[in-house]
Amino acid sequence: MTTTPDSVGLGMPQLPAPDYPDDVRARLERDAREIIARYPGSRSALLPLLHLVQSEEGHVTRTGMQFCADVLGLTTAEVTAVATFYTMYRRRPSGDYQVGVCTNTLCAVMGGDAIFEALQDHLGVGNGGTTDDGKVTLEHIECNAACDFAPVVMVNWEFFDNQTVESAKRLVDDLRTGVPVAPTRGAPLCTFKETARILAGFPDEREGAVEASGSAGPASLTGLRLAKGEAARVVHPRDGGPHDAAQDRAPGDATPHDPSLAEHLSSHDAPQDTSASDPANPAGPTAEEGE
């Protein structure tokens, strides 16, 4: 784990932040002018500018904040107040790939908690920790608007849908060994710095990046296919998501379950009064659950 606790300054005030090298500053100033021109009021450029300085150094440094303050005519206190409010701005060096496991209620219940716990063990880092090779920073994230693909893992803010403990471990292993991985929704991964540049408002110019992963994820099409009478073609997204297709299955992996039509498209919602885990069952919620 390469993370260190934020140091506490005692006594001496901090020295002013060092400046960027002249060539870097000139390049960033050109970008900054382009960003500022998008807005009627220059201060609106602050969030994209913070993404921009993050794309330079991988996190928002004092130098980066000083730069934002300079180009916008703000104080560093004003910039710091904003930079510390938003969770996407990192405040210390981190890995090339930010792996975020959704642990908001729905994903957590569907397996996000188990995935996050397993990845912490597997990588030997805690929340916000970075692996020694500087490749992966692990954190838990809040709801990322993909609940119909739960449990969800984001890598550099691309979607890896319908994850399992095994698929998530394979994912971080691949990231660390440099095996290319494809998101279920999104483009082939770029580094965290490159992602930050897109967030600053500079379009991803890589060939095929916009097209990658097709028009819509399978869950997004569930209702449409039913409405078009293509119900028979509805595939249970958890069993046939593009993630499974995109990644080679290791020999010995369980065969993906292919539910029959009757199984997942029954004409009733089938309350099961005799389910072993039904609290209404005379046997109660069963002893083993309480253990």
Binding site: V109, N156, G214, A219, A227, A254, S266, D278, G290
Partner: protein, 449 residues
Amino acid sequence: MTVATEVKDPSPEKLLAPVLSAFWDEDRSWTLDVYRRHEGYEGLRKALAMTPDDLIAYVKEAGLRGRGGAGFPTGMKWQFIPQGDGKPHYLVVNADESEPGTCKDIPLLFANPHSLIEGIVIACYAIRSSHAFIYLRGEVVPVLRRLHSAVREAYAAGYLGKNILGSGLDLELTVHAGAGAYICGEETALLDSLEGRRGQPRLRPPFPAVAGLYACPTVVNNVESIASVPAILKNGKDWFRAMGSEKSPGFTLYSLSGHVASPGQYEAPLGITLRQLLDMSGGMRPGHRLKFWTPGGSSTPMFTEEHLDVPLDYEGVGAAGSMLGTKALQCFDETTCVVRAVTRWTEFYAHESCGKCTPCREGTYWLVQLLRDIEAGKGAMSDLDKLNDIADNINGKSFCALGDGAASPIFSSLKYFREEYEQHITGGGCPFDPAKSTAWADKHLEVNA
């Protein structure tokens, strides 16, 4: 009276109404070519043939209501913009979709971004705005890419920029990526954030329609609200009003998630019920039954099995004691511990509270402390009343609705599942096994079957 009760045929073909999602299954659905092939930008031509005031009246008469949660009539929001005031007017599209459970705008923008752009041009013509913004949450880079691409296409084709389609309308559209803060989904916090500040809600009045972005008249609309406008223009307000109910007309995206057999997006007339949606899609996962669900994200009071037939429109859900919200139907089965679910949601609200208002900032913190104790079996019976009391001291006592949202799961879970809280206290711990709730919990059963 709703369509749901009128239609006798329960087949999905009759109950669903894909409009915005109608061609998401086509190759390159996000491109201008495909959008035009589906009569894209035809609604804009019709809108530009009207006067702006007539256009506002038309959208008002169609009865379109905000799809971001509150359900405020969209046309009325536009009408509130003072005209002839000599100030710039702004349209800001709220694409900060972050409410737990809500997952409709992100797939919409990924597969069909031009519906939003066309809606933006129409809305800006109506409110006489020459600069619009899309405030997209930052954590969805694939969507940002497609928005960048779609906006570039729209400029090149003359739907944005100077003298759009020869109408004399000039419009600049800026795509703005946020930086991770749930609170920025609140419209005044969003405006502060877009001005380059911490996203903290503003005191109202003045409302954004009078003093919004840069203290100028501003309309803030949800993605789905604006994206619905072109179809209304293209197909007519009567077509729109033929769907849904008198007070909740039209179509909308319902997002089914959780322990259901077929999670996903279901576009249907307002007023469909969860039972109908589950019936057509295979119900809950095999062998399990619905325990609790949210009609519109975690901030809307939860429902149980007894609410399966509540018409999912603004009035129906309201009458049943909750809110339609974002139509985020998160379904949890009997394996799920409600205390665990509510604790996690409350941790979210505590994390996302911006800190401006004391009741919310302090209240959510103490709710988390109490709930963690209860979940771990260290709570006391008196804690349950204390939870209710703290939630009551947050609800309605903060600037914005985040506080109200934090109180909702507390109130509603205590109402329907107080016994389960008590079990945690008397039993000294959680009686549920989280492993049974996971998406893969029943895999071995299915393979063996």
